[in-house]
Amino acid sequence: MNVPTSTVALFATCINDTMFPETPKAVVRLLERLGCRVDFPLQQTCCGQMFTNTGYFREAMPSVRNFVDTFERYDYVVGPSGSCVGSVRDQHPMLAHRHGDPGLQRRVEAIVAKTYDLSEFLVDVLGVTDVGAYFPHRVTYHPTCHSLRVTKVGDRPYRLLSAVRGLTLVELPNAQQCCGFGGTFSLKNSDVSVAMGTDKVRAVLDTGAEYVVTGDNSCLMHIGGLLSRMRAGVTPIHLAEILASTEDALVAAGATAPQQGGSR
């Protein structure tokens, strides 16, 4: 393992911070267990993706600027979200360019190079796939679209999950198809979104898994919302929470909570 000497900045993402705090808590536990020094700069907010992808480029600019101001001084910025990290990488340079601010664009490009999804940071920077986790459950992984196609985390989550003791990883049928969340798509086109989600849920149920795991709580909120409404008996869980789980400290969700929810 190759633990960096410099402090790792946790980019919790606004949705995790507000709605799913167990996930960034798990990232802190996991990274500290692996020997990293972790900081959560309080100035942080959001990647701005909701604004950008809904067409509000101007409204995304405060998020872009704030991201740079917050994280510039760190060597590593790690977020438990392929989608939010993907937005930083893929859209912040575009927004800065369009805004006609070359200074900001240079700063954005510098920060893009050191921003990682959790699975990338573990596998590529720390060089670890067995993080010493224990999670004695049947699990299926949904490779969310932005993790897969924007951030391109590849097989890293599978390698990390495969090394978890006690875990049975079941292949999700038609795994690479979108779950239908799509940010504001889930509201603007809620009928199509639900139709897509229904097929995703059917695939999840077909696996017989207890947990459906992803690297993005936003998609998971959609899949989990459907599962919860159906009383389907499958719990959505973020990859970080499984990786943080050990024999000594099984994640709360694994031990108790019937469905995903912030209050667990």
Binding site: P21, D39, T45, G55, Q177, C178, T184, S190, Q260, G261
Partner: protein
Amino acid sequence: MSAVRRTPAPPPGDLQDMPKFPKNAAKELRNTQLRKNLRHATTTIREKRANVVAELPHWEQLRRAGEAIKNRTLRHLDDYLLQLEESLTRNGAIVHWASDAAEANQIVIDVARAKGADEVVKVKSMATQEIDLNEALEAAGIAAWETDLAELIVQLGHDRPSHILVPAIHRNRSEVREIFTEEMGRYGTPPPDGLTDDPAMLAGAARVHLREKFLRAKVAVSGANFAVADSGTLVVVESEGNGRMCLTLPETLISIVGIEKTVPTFDDLEVFLQLLPRSSTAERMNPYTSMWSGVREGDGPQEVHVVLLDNGRTKVLADEVGRQALRCIRCSACLNICPVYERVGGHAYGSVYPGPIGAILTPQLRGTASAVDASLPFASSLCGACYEVCPVRINIPEVLVHLRNQVVESHGPSVEGTIMKAGGWVMGDGRRLALVQKGSELAGRVLPGEVIGPLPGPAAGWTGARDLPKPPTQTFRDWWVAEHQGGRDE
């Protein structure tokens, strides 16, 4: 409009006047036949495409070559178009320029009238659908007969296509039998007695029906998949042979060609004739590739017209981000892979070009003034599967987001805009977000139950079918501050 129609009437109304996408989609989602057909068809073609693409180890290089050739063509389109005109003219073709649909349609009407024709046979063509040529001809008293099997089904069914490549994908064979039995005899050779829904028998009926038209027609109308600038060659790629019939039997051939169909050299076809069939029909090579370079005495049509069509394309070309849509070779791989298209089909898009490519091409060609056009850039979850399969690497999600911005910028103040503005301000500073989170923490404390169930009003969009987790009583931010005695940072 002539008193009695010559051809089956399409559904009433203009596509552009359709309601916005979510409304159309909600209706289509309830069409169980459509859902089943699309699920089956798209799943099958998707797998086949993946298999034939995997056969070529240099597929990614081919895609990049296709992208580069199209980019170069678009960069110098003015030069290549003049070269194309010169080559075509040298080969004996008559070149026309049409800036919009009305001009293009008038050219076809004039040529057909000059030849004394009151009917034309048609090769399947997206460009002619885009300009609504059939209805323009009908109004001029000229019957336009679709000869592609699926287009024939659509035309006889008083219907609209729902897929670029498989226009009758929303129909099943028993419906086709019904359409043929009911309508075929009114417009030509009737189907045989006792027509069943056996595909071979249905195809046989279409074959006999169309044969009469092929042999009788004096004028044919086609589009073109490619127009080669250096050799003055037009190319049509098809699967049934109906195109070959239209391109060789009638005395006069009129081809409507979008200006972006140009490729610089004949050699460039090497790339596209590999990319196109594998991406569209999942074939290594398409069954019929017809190429013609002007007129050849005693062989094929003796009068060849080419209508070079703009119809909004130069406007698209002027958009630095949006212009990549002009690289499209109409393979429909993006439709087949699209999870949205798979569930709603083509009609929901209110556009001749449905699916992901339609969602970026149509609002650019037509503008975003109509309800449906303004909704198309939002008809995607931005999953990016379309970009992954596009043989000419059109970054469809990028253009979608770009067009969303154009829609937002071009429309006046809105509730959504106000929310976004406020949200943008909040996200400019961690302290502002922390303040807003006090509200979510409070909600977490006072809301009853484990999760948030069905809610009325605007919240029904999410909660109609999905529970919402109750906000936690402590955000991560507050947990961190508590853990670190006020925080290590600020």
